[in-house]
Amino acid sequence: MNTRSLFPERGPAFWGTGFTALIASGTIFILFVSLVIESVPVFKTQGVSFLWGTDWFAGEAYGALPMIFGSLMVTAIAVVLVFPFALGSAILTSEFLNGRLRLMVKAAMELLAGVPGIIYGLMGIALLTIWVRDVFGLIDGNTLFTAGLLLAVMVLPTVMTLSEDALRAVPGEFRDTALSLGLTRMEMVLKVVVPQALPGLAGAVFLGLGRAMGETIAVMLVIGGIDRIPQPWFNLFASGQSIPSKIGREAAEALGFDLQWSALIALGLVLFVMVMALSLAGNLLLRRAR
């Protein structure tokens, strides 16, 4: 192929914008490549057992499984808790509210989405851990469940507004046809609009999960910080550790050298891949919805 047909315009505007675009899109590659390079030493010494080792003790052993498990667990808890509320409020705003009221609810949600993680973290450590302890009669409230609950609150606005967009994207004819066939409003929503919007709703959840998985400070303050898989593994009310929380706690000490640093970078790589997969899935599903 002739390069001229690829880049028809080659004035200063082309070179200028091309340069900025290269920097912008190159960042992700540089990031990924440096994560891979920096994590080589730990994979060299530990092999892939890094991924399923259960013991992490700086200077002795680096096993990532408790952190991977913790990240998946809190994210799963968050999605189970957030989905009913996000879907419910999305259906309300999309199908039953109109005009100003709808915009007000959306605006409130979008404001909520911008609240910094540390604010949630402070609320979490001051209130949520105590509530969880007292409501469930636990001996201590710093648990995987607490972290999942906090994340659910944090990603609610993201999941809700994206779900609402997905529902709105279902063409009006579907609604009109359903109603003219004699379906009630409720049946119309549940049997026609929601199934039509399903890929978009799934996309919304995936993108929310991506945010939940990467959240650091709020989780760090309430998860308990112990690198251990609960016994039995489905015990939600035990303490645990997530990948970002682990990195947050150890990075400053390990900065720049040693196997510990490499192990932390490798943890980051695992997180990076997991979050990328989630956002990719979410974006694909959202695109299919449109």
Binding site: T17, I139, G225
Partner: protein, 305 residues
């Protein structure tokens, strides 16, 4: 249209390039030091035990020397030692000794002792009130190993023990584990929670009604009570008196770590810490000054609420 457009663009690009150029210029010179030629910056970080002393001292020192700026951050003793070793910090704070491994890695590390402190075993106030006023070394060890799991086993209420450990690089943990198990990086399989700074540890113990933890004595207060160490029939309470006399077994030095002998502005700040004014701040922070002609009768607890 394209002509006018591209002129603005070129201006924009030029500005971006200028920005990139300037940052590259600054890079090899070591950050923004290049820009701050006549006003010196002292970068300090590390142990949250030493931190309260140094941040007070930094405030006073800066007031006396407006041209010198001091930044003080937390992070833990490990962060302090490595920061000083890699020269990311001018002064690292450490509430433990430098390990042989660290000495191998950074040949030139130099420590200046500015005060003495002790690590106390602390419990939630409910536990203290229920009658657990002292534990032996063996009992505390067994709690951290997970062999003792209920307060009933050591004379307290029938309640599971919430064992709070600290991040492995924290100086307080090094000192405490060395006392319990003879090994500063011993593991604690009985732990339920892991915390970082003294503040975080203090908050988590205060929130609980069944917790045990390890804390610098200056952080002891009404909610987080330091218990005595039982040795045979004797009970040694974690008081400054007992630390000074050497009776309390878990004592330690508070260190400023520098790469080589401190000199220039860093040296002046270290000298200030050792001067009567600096030593007064050590005492005011709840620790024991090392140059202290007068007897100090104050009990622990100056970071209490």
């Amino acid at each position: 249209m394209p002509g006018r457009f591209s002129k603005k663009l070129i201006l924009g690009m030029a500005l971006i390039l200028l920005g990139v150029g300037i940052s590259i210029q600054i890079w090899p010179g070591g950050g923004f030091h290049v820009l701050a030629q006549d006003s010196a910056v002292i970068r300090v970080a590390g142990s949250t035990t030493v931190l309260p002393i140094v941040s007070r001292a930094a405030e006073r020192f800066q007031a006396d020397h407006p041209a010198i700026k001091i930044t003080v951050n937390a992070g833990g003793s490990g962060v302090g030692v490595h920061g000083a070793g890699t020269r990311r910090l001018d002064i690292g704070l450490a509430s433990r000794e430098i390990t042989p491994k660290e000495n191998d890695r950074y040949a030139s590390l130099h420590t200046t002792v500015i005060g003495r402190d002790a690590v106390a075993c602390v419990v939630s106030s409910e536990i203290f009130r229920s009658g657990v006023h002292a534990l032996s070394r063996k009992q505390i060890g067994d709690i951290y190993l997970g062999k003792i799991t209920n307060w009933r086993q050591v004379g307290g209420p029938d309640r599971q023990i919430i064992v709070i450990d600290k991040e492995t690089h924290r100086g307080t943990r090094h000192v405490f584990m060395r006392y319990l198990f003879g090994k500063s990086n011993a593991r604690a399989p009985g732990a339920r929670l892991v915390t970082g700074s003294n503040n975080e540890e203090q908050a988590k113990i205060a929130q609980s009604d069944a917790a045990i933890g390890l804390l610098s004595i200056a952080w002891i207060n009404d909610d987080v009570v330091g218990i005595g160490i039982r040795e045979g029939r004797r009970v040694i309470k974690p008081t400054l008196e007992n630390v000074r006399s050497g009776r309390f077994p878990i004592a330690r030095n508070l260190n400023l770590v520098t790469a080589g002998e401190p000199n220039d502005v860093v040296g002046r700040f270290v000298d200030y810490m050792l001067s009567p004014k600096g030593q007064e701040l050590v005492q005011a922070s709840g620790y024991i000054p090392i140059h202290s002609p007068q007897a100090v009768s104050k009990v622990a607890g100056s970071h209490s609420k």
